[in-house]
Symmetry: D3
Subunit: 195 residues, 6 copies
Amino acid sequence: MAASAILFITLALLNSIRISLAFDPHPLQDICVAPTLGLDTYFLTTTSTCKDPKLVTADDFYMTGLNRPGPINPYGVTFTLASVATTPGFNTQGQTSLYSELAPNGIFPPHIHLRASEITYVIEGSVEVGFVTSFPDYKYYSKVIKRGDVFIFQVGLVHIVRNVARGKKSVTISSLNSQNPGIIFLPDSYQTYED
Amino acid sequence: MAASAILFITLALLNSIRISLAFDPHPLQDICVAPTLGLDTYFLTTTSTCKDPKLVTADDFYMTGLNRPGPINPYGVTFTLASVATTPGFNTQGQTSLYSELAPNGIFPPHIHLRASEITYVIEGSVEVGFVTSFPDYKYYSKVIKRGDVFIFQVGLVHIVRNVARGKKSVTISSLNSQNPGIIFLPDSYQTYED
Amino acid sequence: MAASAILFITLALLNSIRISLAFDPHPLQDICVAPTLGLDTYFLTTTSTCKDPKLVTADDFYMTGLNRPGPINPYGVTFTLASVATTPGFNTQGQTSLYSELAPNGIFPPHIHLRASEITYVIEGSVEVGFVTSFPDYKYYSKVIKRGDVFIFQVGLVHIVRNVARGKKSVTISSLNSQNPGIIFLPDSYQTYED
Amino acid sequence: MAASAILFITLALLNSIRISLAFDPHPLQDICVAPTLGLDTYFLTTTSTCKDPKLVTADDFYMTGLNRPGPINPYGVTFTLASVATTPGFNTQGQTSLYSELAPNGIFPPHIHLRASEITYVIEGSVEVGFVTSFPDYKYYSKVIKRGDVFIFQVGLVHIVRNVARGKKSVTISSLNSQNPGIIFLPDSYQTYED
Amino acid sequence: MAASAILFITLALLNSIRISLAFDPHPLQDICVAPTLGLDTYFLTTTSTCKDPKLVTADDFYMTGLNRPGPINPYGVTFTLASVATTPGFNTQGQTSLYSELAPNGIFPPHIHLRASEITYVIEGSVEVGFVTSFPDYKYYSKVIKRGDVFIFQVGLVHIVRNVARGKKSVTISSLNSQNPGIIFLPDSYQTYED
Amino acid sequence: MAASAILFITLALLNSIRISLAFDPHPLQDICVAPTLGLDTYFLTTTSTCKDPKLVTADDFYMTGLNRPGPINPYGVTFTLASVATTPGFNTQGQTSLYSELAPNGIFPPHIHLRASEITYVIEGSVEVGFVTSFPDYKYYSKVIKRGDVFIFQVGLVHIVRNVARGKKSVTISSLNSQNPGIIFLPDSYQTYED
């Protein structure tokens, strides 16, 4: 049997499985930095293995330029994530950060984070925030918040954020208490059933 | 027996106990806003009771002016918290927000959050951040981070934040993934044993 | 002060708060039957108090006639729940049962259970089942299952059940691993934002 | 060194360990289907690795013929399980289903599920169900339930199910809220100490 | 309406419910000492309320004389517990201690702790320890341990401890990682079904 | 490509990652003994893999000579641990045992266990025990306990143990409810920042 075939089999075996992490908080170690060698995004957000502590550096706990916006999407918003995918030291620590800029009239359409509550802090401008409780009440709570204010979206509930600053962008930073909060945009999910 | 005596006994009985909440995440309800009627701060940060849903309003999920700094303490820092004590809708959602301003050379001296990891985002200026692992390694990881950067402090470890912006204040916002993270400043705790 | 006023105040005080239960599984007692005296549905589904063990009977763990269907709703389905609201002994045990009958072409439209996975067993007929993963993939998994088959819907994901038995009803029973799974029907939630 | 020796060492190394999953609910991913390639039953019921999402199909969440009874055991009962061993998509979802047929006078003798409460629904016939609390009370709760009824056995307590339909079989389906509930039949466990 | 009647109703209302605690570890407070005013043993072992912190003293975290044996039972053993029932400061801390003395040939017959693993340390003498895994393997692991040794019983499994010191007593101390471990002695539980 | 190179790559790949365990209690298996083949201490205290059950023996659950003291440290104390590092069967069972001997005037200086409460039982002599609550109260609770007494240190709080037996050693055994409690000695941690 050829040596390269063995290598292929071994790597294929390692590649066909993905490690899961069953729970967010209270890790059993001081640090458990996610390994990054040849792993895809899916693996990174859910790893239960740790990088060799001897190879860990301060950079593993750090991300620069979270406030660098990407291209504006069709809804008029742009967002950047600091997560275990960008910062392997987030692994097992149960948190994700989300930086957003909303163009005038930009909106995050109705969506859900399956695994996290979300606190939004307004850095600049002002936004309308709102969420809806579940069946059978579907009660809607909403508020306009401005620079220096915070609002909390309850875990698992449908919510929106809309820029209401006249002709200006608004900027927010959000904290989500899961390593992998998950997002379901209702319009996108709906379309799946219509296709 | 006098009616007022009964009222007194009843209230005393209710007053002599405090409700605990055993765990942070994954509440069993959509919302469980903390009740505020005549309860002290201790109770508020740890309640396992919910306000009558019919009385809940959007204001229960909201705090204005988190960015309004209070007086500078002897270490040259000031901080404000958004927590269940300020915003009863934080109850059962497993999060606290911390807004800080550090005067030139201001420092958060070595301290621990017992029940939360902490992600710090720099809004303005630049800070040195660092944390130490536990016995027997006590390895120190540190970094200077500036506007737009984030750094994560691992849950339960001793850490510091120091303003390194020359002659200017620095401003940060931190997310902690517990409703009651807890703080132990090592200098203060030490002094207890010396007294 | 009048005695009746004291009674009123005491009851009002007890009535203005609701007890929460922070987590589903692993209770600290053998049994913790939910108390039923004068409490509303909301309280019952989320209680953290237990009935006096001396008053508990076998009936507290029992529900008769889960298979008795109610009126058919506009979507052509009817469902009955066995939960802590019908059976107080479900309290702290982390489960809910759902019995459904679907008329010909009846459908449970896209919906989410925030706090539970769901296993559906077909008692009679045949149904199409399907669920969609979250952003950004929105991958759809679907299957037709018939009498004696089971299918599992992953916790928190949007899913549907549709009767595909020609001209006949289908009957299913589902298990959900939370005391209060929560339901969000996407059409209903959507409408909230349009109103 | 021979290539086949390397393959042997690598496989032996992979084979000598088994992956554990520390907790039932609240997975960090939408789906984490158990991998099946060359793994034994033990591994399957406890995996913390996930199948490559690209290889996952709807069949991974499905089991046909749960209602196909096997041979009757000495106690006059037969049961089939839908679990992560039959349906890899059950992995991390915290549930197992149990289909049972009891011959006339058939009985599940006193047994315990270490890690799950159990809800039993009667599809056909009627059964006596009962459970006993722990030391020092050992209080016994029992009930006869029939077609369409449910009964809940509290997690970790000793319980029985006995067919009381005259001269007919009874059929039940049970939900257990753990991926690996565990069973200890008291007669079997006893015998271990007597051997 | 008479004032005493109101008092009666109020107390009856408070008395008819018992507070549950859903989970052992990771309390949200530094301390949550169990209140003791007029509460029965059942309540004490499961409270989710805390004593007013201002009334807490060091004695709340303390028990004297755990090593004072009570009367020997028919199996030739005597045991004392340090738990939330003796030491209210154990509340929410997830632990119980068990001190045992076994007469010559004394035995703890086969039993289960539903909610805790158990580590036994031998202070004096020597004991045979053993436990059995669950269905279908029922594998028995046993060992004789002597002064200064420890052995761990896995959570939820049937186990025994037998004095094997010739003509002498043996003394052990055990730690159980639950505030309310629960005990089921198999002989006692069996007898319930035979009665 | 050389066969030895493949072996090197494979082993390097396996060596560069460490497995984490996200949570202490409630394992999904009866037993999950930590594998020991060529793994370092770090790995052993945090493994999420299990030894092949067929290779497990009673010795995996056992440690002899916990009461054999090592050399006295500068603080006048010596301690031995029974943990997953000495006894692989501790894996997933959420406990660690600590045996200590304190020379006259010996002291465990102020320290924290991040992940466990601690119950100390005095086998011989008498000790002063004390702990401090967190910011802002820093209330100190302390007590002298003697042979046969127990005291509980609340999870995460700074505490000390000091020998107060006149001119004699004291001996204690402690239970900690985590597989990896973690220790931070405040003097050591402090020194890190001064270096």
